[in-house]
């Protein structure tokens, strides 16, 4: 089995092994810090990986993503503040458990559920990705253009509250990506005569600016309101018993399946998975099961689901070259930086690397589970003691040098700050920054596949309708937009309903 070769590759690469272990611990700590999203942290750490072996670099960032999603549950349970958006649903039952002294039980439930959910997701990734890749390996430029358009339409319409704003964010990302020299003719486009813009905008400065600098601005805004010291709850020694664990297994299994399925869909992500799993399992449990008041199943369901997203979210990235989540988009950037072609050919061109990455993911889950099981409360205590007014200035300084280190050019720092302001404004106006960055990453491939298709075509634009697979992808994208629009219109209050709303 290829995955065994992957483990062999991982264990024969000491750097990759060491960085996987480091990422498991670091990811849990980062995830438990309220306000610093996992995507932002990964974006900030990308430059650190430039000089690493590709497997070490990818393993480091991939496992941070996994561990970070789990780590968010620590502050959700202990402090009623989710460390990541994926942990919001964990608060509903996790914090009540902590308030009555059962924080350790909640933390251990979260640990076990996250591990099992993550491993189920990894199994689906390992066995599913290669099957899908074998189908997509025969695709040509027309099919790829269909895939890119489908991704733009789905991500633009699903991510964020407003379809129009999502699509506008996609358009803005595409526009920013076109700044620079045309890849075929070398024609300068929108460079305003500046030589620094001829190479286009760097991915890392944009990523770091959009996600990290904008978050620092939000945190600085928060500091105006003042923050009360975080109180660490009293904790009994009561943990999770084996009997309780066996009773939770069906909940964990079902939730992991919800999470894995949602993880494969571009644009949905771990927070949607967590809420869907929580709502569905609460409905199954019935009104007398105590959900919302400290039921451990209410911690297990969202945690299993949000971590089960990790593996399957890599499937569209590895098989189609389309990142469905922000973390996947960042990882795609890392693949490109290291010269590894993304798409179905990756299994033949870099199979050892891919399966080594899968193995790192599986091992990383074990390591973050051990970290969380034994040190979860200690990490929570550390988070409560470190004031964020020192953390964010430190992060600010690190981001500046991270952006500079890409091309050793201070111009990238200016780009990062401008992107930070743009990201802050987008957040305030409810434009999805994830859609913007995914469009930025996919734009070159989309334009190249469009132009190649038309060069090869005898029928001009009709090639996208005469090629059935390309037409199918375009139709799926249009269908998703149509369905989302209809759902949105139905959700809107009509004049008669406005008076009926409570309050």
């Amino acid at each position: 089995m290829e995955i065994l070769n992957g483990f062999a590759t991982l264990f024969s690469t000491p750097d990759a092994l060491a960085y996987t272990a480091l990422a498991a611990v670091l990811g849990v700590v980062i995830g438990s810090l309220p306000g610093l999203t996992v995507a932002a942290a990964i974006a900030m750490l990308v430059p650190v990986t430039y000089y690493l072996d590709p497997l070490a670099a990818l393993s480091f960032l991939y496992v941070i993503g996994k561990a970070g999603r789990y780590g968010g549950s620590i502050s959700a349970i202990l402090f009623n503040t989710p460390g990541t958006t994926a942990s919001v649903a964990t608060i509903f039952d996790g914090y009540p458990l902590a308030r009555r002294g059962d924080a350790r039980r909640a933390l251990r439930t979260s640990t076990v559920a996250s591990m099992i959910g993550d491993w189920i997701g990894d199994a689906i990734l390992i066995f599913g990705a290669v099957i899908i890749a074998s189908w997509t390996s025969s695709f040509g430029p027309a099919e790829y253009f269909g895939i890119y358009m489908m991704a733009f339409l789905i991500i633009g319409s699903v991510v964020g509250k407003s379809i129009l704003k999502g699509l506008l964010a996609i358009a803005m990302g595409l526009a920013v990506a076109m700044v620079g020299l045309d890849p075929i003719t070398g024609q300068p486009r929108w460079t305003f005569g500046h030589i620094e813009l001829e190479g286009g905008f760097g991915l890392v400065p944009l990523l770091v600016g959009l996600f990290v600098i904008s978050e620092i601005m939000v945190q600085a805004e928060q500091s105006l309101r003042g923050t009360a010291p975080i109180a660490f709850p009293k904790m009994s020694n009561r943990g999770l018993t084996l009997r309780e664990l066996f009773r939770l297994l069906p909940v964990i299994g079902r939730s992991a399946i919800y999470g894995a399925f949602i993880g494969m869909m571009p644009g949905l992500g771990s927070s949607v998975a967590a809420f869907v799993a929580y709502a569905e399992e609460k409905r199954r449990a019935g009104p007398d099961a105590g959900w919302g008041e400290g039921a451990i199943a209410g911690v297990a369901a969202p945690e299993a689901a949000n971590n089960a997203v990790n593996g399957p979210s890599m499937i569209p990235l590895l098989t189609l070259g389309v990142p469905g989540t922000t973390v996947a988009a960042i990882l795609m950037g890392v693949f490109l930086i290291h010269g590894i072609p993304i798409g179905p050919t990756i299994f033949s061109a870099a199979g050892d690397l891919v399966y080594g990455l899968f193995a790192a993911g599986v091992l990383g889950v074990l390591l973050y589970g051990i970290t969380g099981w034994f040190f979860g409360p200690a990490i929570g205590r550390l988070v409560s003691l470190v004031p964020t007014r020192y953390v964010y200035p430190t992060i600010f300084l690190v981001t500046v040098i991270a952006s500079y280190s890409v091309r050793l050019n201070l111009f990238d720092v200016y780009v990062m700050m401008a992107a930070g302001l743009l990201g802050y404004v987008m957040r305030k106006l409810e434009f999805p920054t994830a859609a913007f960055i995914i469009a930025f990453i996919l734009a070159p491939g989309a334009e190249e596949s469009l132009r190649q298709s038309l060069l090869l075509s005898r029928n001009g634009w009709m090639i996208f309708l005469t090629e059935p697979v390309a037409a199918g992808f375009l139709a799926v994208g249009m269908l998703v937009i149509a369905v989302r629009t209809i759902v949105k219109l139905r959700q809107r209050p009509g004049p008669a309903d406005i008076d009926a709303r409570p309050g």
Binding site: P34, T81, P82, L164, K165, L167, L168, A171, M172, L174, A175, M178, D182, I184, T185, G186, Q187, P188, R189, W190, I213, I216, M217, V218, Q219, A220, E221, S223, L224, R225, R389, Y390, Y392, P393, F396, L397, I401, Y404, S405, L408, L410, V413, Y414, M417, L421, Y424, K428, L429, E430, L450, L454, L455, G460, Q491, P493, G494, D497, I498, D499, R501
Partner: protein, 188 residues
Amino acid sequence: MSRKIIVQASRLDQAPPDTREASVRSSDHWTGLVIAISGVALFAMTFNFTITEEGLVGPRFGPRVISGLLVLGGVLLAASPWLSPRMPDEDHRSAGADDEPRSLRVLPVVLGLILVGFAYAFMTRKVGYDLSTFAAAWAVLAIFRVRSVFRITAVAAGLALAMHVLFLEVMGLFMPDGRWIDLSWIWS
């Protein structure tokens, strides 16, 4: 069919959702206009591309399509406050008035961070990495309301030292020397 009211959990201590939504919708009009005007400007710039289409598409095609979409989307967004039904308590003036004091307090903080970032990059070439990092750290700590001047100075100095050791000495990153002042002689 009963309608579900979806409550979005938010960590931020903000104005009530209704007021915030009204504020966002009132700004959609101006945001849409800015986007549409930007789209028009970008489209106009495509006429300066000296190499044009070869065959069906060329270097000008993508930029023109995208800028056209920005114009279209911007116009739709600008018109959206009139196209969408309104909540009964939605009053753009009152929503704006509630937000003004908040916006006025937040603006200096946000712009201050931007200014610090740009100044940091600019001053690195003038006074070197160590001094510019110390100054930037000092400024950002002040923005984050660390009160004691002594504490700010001490932490800023510590951060500048830590950054130098980690990135320049351990990782071997090259930073440009300062043209006016340069402290790199301390480390050599």
